[in-house]
């Protein structure tokens, strides 16, 4: 039987083998999934703000995208993964209506988070294999360590596969 683990606000978890990770109620934050196709580990973090504050060491590094991604990668490496092997996908970054998609405004946290995670992955010479960001709908993200499937569920679209990490070049149903 598969074990299922829920990711809360500003949390990171890494599991192996047959476990499933799920993050519900993602608003403007982003759920980032890291997958190690060699070791079979899968990790997920729910990050809420673009960047940690320069003058503070964050008590909860997963609150921020820059420190959260470092934390997620470190947790994967502690399980035995190699950074080079890791592949990523993410979803989230929604925000209330009628705000510009471009980052013009500090209160556009969803748009700022979407850009921040791209930038943070670039810092590790990584790019996401699949993303689903923006809009005004809350999301839930599920990552299945056994199948390598990452699914997104929204109220308007229902559930769909964001990526199959074991076969990332395959087209997935939207």
């Amino acid at each position: 039987m598969k074990s299922s683990f829920s990711i809360g606000l500003a949390e990171v978890q890494v599991v192996g083998g047959t476990s499933v990770l799920e993050c519900s109620n993602i608003g403007s934050g982003v759920a980032v999934v890291a997958y190690d196709p060699v070791g079979g580990f899968v990790g997920m973090g729910h990050f809420l703000l673009p960047q940690s504050f320069k003058d503070q060491v964050p008590v909860k590094p997963a609150k921020f995208i820059d420190t959260g991604l470092q934390h997620l990668i470190r947790a994967m490496v502690e399980q035995g993964s190699k950074t080079d092997d890791l592949v990523f996908a993410y979803a989230g970054g929604a925000q209330p209506f009628k705000m510009d998609a471009a980052v013009k405004n500090p209160t556009d946290i969803g748009a700022r988070n979407s850009l921040a995670i791209q930038s943070a992955l670039n810092d590790f010479d990584k790019q996401a294999l699949a993303t689903d960001v923006g809009g005004t709908c809350g999301r839930s993200v599920t990552a299945d360590g056994a199948s390598g499937l990452v699914s997104v569920r929204t109220f308007l679209l229902g559930e769909y596969v964001l990526i199959d990490f074991k076969n990332p070049s395959a087209e997935v149903a939207a």
Binding site: N25, G27, L49, F53, F97, P106, T107, F155
Partner: protein, 288 residues
Amino acid sequence: MSNSITLEEIVAKTPDLPSFPAAAMRVMKEADSSTSNASSIALILAQDQALSARVLRLANSAYYGLTRKVSNLQEAVVVLGTRCVRNLCMVAATYPWMSRSLDGYCLGPRDLWTHSFGTALGAQLFARLSKKCNEDQAFTAGLLHDIGKVALSVWLENKTSAVAQYAHLAETTFDAAERKILGFDHCQVGEHLANVWNLPEEMVDAARWHHDPNGLEATPAIVDCVHLGLHLTLTLGLGLGGDGMQYHFCEESYSRLGIDPNEIDHIMDTFLNGYEEYEKLFHDLTAA
């Protein structure tokens, strides 16, 4: 396209519509008056045994970390303070019915509660930062801002998807889609219910205008505080339902309150720290 049922009929005909405990209302008014004291508040609270029991249980929760058990209401007011007991009373009065599922909004058990409590804490934080309205009144206004959903939910069942799809396709807000399809929105129903409950005027305004603070000619600061508290809550995804984040955000609320929107990340961080602390209280509420 709208139904012929009126807003008054919605409130009159909704089954299991909660009532706001009279004792909680009187505690709120007494605590906000300049003449209140521990015994006057305890005396009012004592008239509602169920409410008193929940307030005492919360006062003894791990969240407050008291070294000895508080065994009576007057002692609770003395130890925790009038303001704290006032807000505990609001929490104890609303939790039983706010923690139910609302199928019409696709909200599971405790989702509306999580959303409302988050908005209450956010509104309180903006009141504290702006110093433009009473923090405790902002807390209560945030807690009660979505009472219209409680009444409207049953009438929205089987229509939620249509409302959300309409809003999505027409690129409009969920409350605008409610008005188009039902003839009114949860804010208008909330205003009516708040008047039926005889809530103070600022709470009626917050229930009516929390998604559209610019709709008022002269927006009271408490409405801006609730709007911005709600924005923090939606941004964090606390208790998101079928309506998701399909609402307007009004940045003018920041300028009216004299708060720099560039501070939003720090404000969000402060909010999160407070919210996480309160999870201890949530735990005790579940048991209460």
